[in-house]
């Protein structure tokens, strides 16, 4: 079994479910026998994006919100590559939502994995586009006023043929299985993964 781990020990908080996504992604790549030479992972900026340092693959730790267009550029320039995006709800559904919609419309063959913890965690716990209405976060002490985005429905509305799925880190084998299915699928795919932020997200449970 090829080792995909880098020299850096993950810095996520103990108990953070980003560890589940980290392990599942490695397992899925190995199970699917993806040649490392053909793989590029583009990471967003955020806690989950920090996975960039913990994997030894060809990677791009892009700008906050811009992981999807960076991945689209790579795929357009080099269509034989397997291109995977790893980002958070803040980067992919907030800062970069227009890019996600455009990629889904184009049905471009990339896999987008979103660690959805309903928070901006790397910046210590502000509201994100998926935080439930009324929830209290550091930036919304009186409760969130907006209704949250529902990623699956949104992307299906944009492109009914796009591959969209929702899983939870509570069930790690399902996460691995879903990532494998996404990697196998040709065309655009979005995997929205429920991920608990143990440091800032307990009030959301």
């Amino acid at each position: 079994m090829t080792d995909l781990k880098s020299k850096i020990v993950p810095t996520w908080c103990p108990g953070c479910q980003d560890f589940v996504i980290y392990a599942s992604l490695q397992q899925a790549i190995i199970n699917q026998k993806i040649d490392i030479k053909d793989l590029v992972i583009v990471y967003d900026i955020g806690c989950i994006g920090n996975m960039a340092d913990f994997l030894k693959v060809f990677g791009v730790h892009s700008l906050h919100g811009r992981s999807v267009p960076t991945a689209v550029g790579i795929k357009l320039a080099h269509p034989e590559l397997k291109v995977v995006v790893v980002g958070g709800d803040g980067g992919v559904y907030g800062e970069g939502l227009s890019h996600l919609i455009a990629a889904a419309r184009l049905n471009i063959d990339i896999t987008v994995l979103v660690a959805n913890n309903q928070l901006y965690s790397l910046t210590t716990g502000q509201t994100s586009p998926t935080t439930p209405k009324g929830a209290k976060t550091k930036s919304t002490p009186k409760g969130v006023e907006s209704v949250p985005i529902e990623p699956e429905g949104l992307i299906r509305a944009v492109n009914p043929t796009a591959w969209v799925k929702h899983v939870s880190c509570q069930k790690p084998p399902e996460v691995t299985e879903a990532i494998e299915a996404a990697l196998k699928h040709h065309g655009f795919d979005l995997l929205d993964i429920d991920q608990l932020c143990v440091s800032f997200g307990k009030q959301l449970l």
Partner: protein, 508 residues
Amino acid sequence: MKRITVKIAGPAGMGIKSAGLLLAKIVTEAGYYFADYSEYPSLIRGGHNTYQITVSPKEVFMADKKANLLIALSPGHEEDGKNLLKIPLSTMTMQLGGQIYANTISIGAICWILDLNRENAKNIVTGYYGDDPKNPEAFEIGWGWAGTNAKKNEIDKVKDNGDKGSIMDGNEAFGWGLFRGGCNFFAAYPMTPATGVLHFLAKNQDKFGIKVVQPEDEIAVANEATGASIAGASAAVATSGGGFALMNEAVSFGGMIGAGVVYFVGQRPGPATGMPTWTVQGDLLYSVFSGHGEFAKIVLAPGDTQECWECGWESINLANKYDIPVIVLADKILCESSKNIIDPEKGKVEVIKSKKIIPGSGIYLYNSYEHDEEGFSTEDAGIAKKGTEERLNKMKNILKIEKYIFNFYGSKTARNLIVSWGSTKGAILEAIRGNSDMAYLQIKMLWPLNKEIEKVIKSFKTKILVENNATAQLGKLLRSEMGIEFNKTVLKYDGRPFFPNELKEELI
């Protein structure tokens, strides 16, 4: 008469620009040189649109402001009525079955007045408009009308009728240059006056083998181009000031990770949406200082259509050689005015490929965070300092190696030196034509600034700065970088370019 300026005016939608380019083709085939200039409001229909063309047996660097011959394609476009050629276009077009022939009738009349060869001109008209037999007919009607109603206004005849190359605008010339330099990925979001690059490359994408895309916004444009560059492509984008503002974080990203992308910026008057179809040189300092943080970048400015072509391949090569963002500053005048340039397919052009690690050639992390040699994030003081220095040291190499710095015109012993950049070149060359008191330095690489520039400027006693902006941006740069002070500064910032005669007066 040595040279003549013909102006066609009318509402948008009457084929003014297309008739103008037809005329440019006819006079070029007849052996003349030309430069053109068009004015139009940001409208699709209506408004006062003009196309003017200065024709001469000698090379024309910039069209003249004053027209010797004005044609109004419909009532209300007679301007001040001076030099107006009163062609009864409405009766004539009725005969032909449509207002759309007004432009070709006018071309027929102009050709007679300029004493051009009737058959040659008519053949070009026929070829230009393809199948529609009414256009040659319209040409004949115009020619015939002028024969009985107008006076000849001949320009000096041409002696040598050598190869005049191809006619194109700066956007097309730049697109050609990109292609010749090996560009194979181009992204753009439409924005006047740079949209022509997108249209031109989109049309020719198969012929050129360039992947051309129009993403959802300029942020996506810049990040897709950066991704393409990481994947091994030679990537370029085109925009104007507002779009470039949106791209700025990606400019900084490219500087951090070492991924070259060419940013073509067609300047138009700002701030904000400004005046989309007019001209200015307002974004020099913004380009030089674009992108947060301290990193190496190159800023180039072509001065004419030929140099737009040159900057196309020069910029993509520099982006690939140094793996940094390269900004090419053009403006409305360069982007949308046409000239004849050397056949863009001819001439040997070097193609430089980036040596950076790409997928398949190794494992690396392109990291927007500060990083070590494998690309992994670090906050180590020593590595941070070294990383900053490595990124900035590219500037030293550029200054040492690159020769694409400036053009010098005139004598080293002239009394005065004019200094400028970009499209002002045309009006300056016109204004100093035959004046041995004036030398001219046109800076092509505006960042980093080579010491050679300082040497040349400081060797002149009287230094004059000419810029098409309000704040003398090049002057500020030369003062802060080289301690250069100008004796005189000539600025214009009303959305219009400098015209030869008005600049000549300002320079006295």
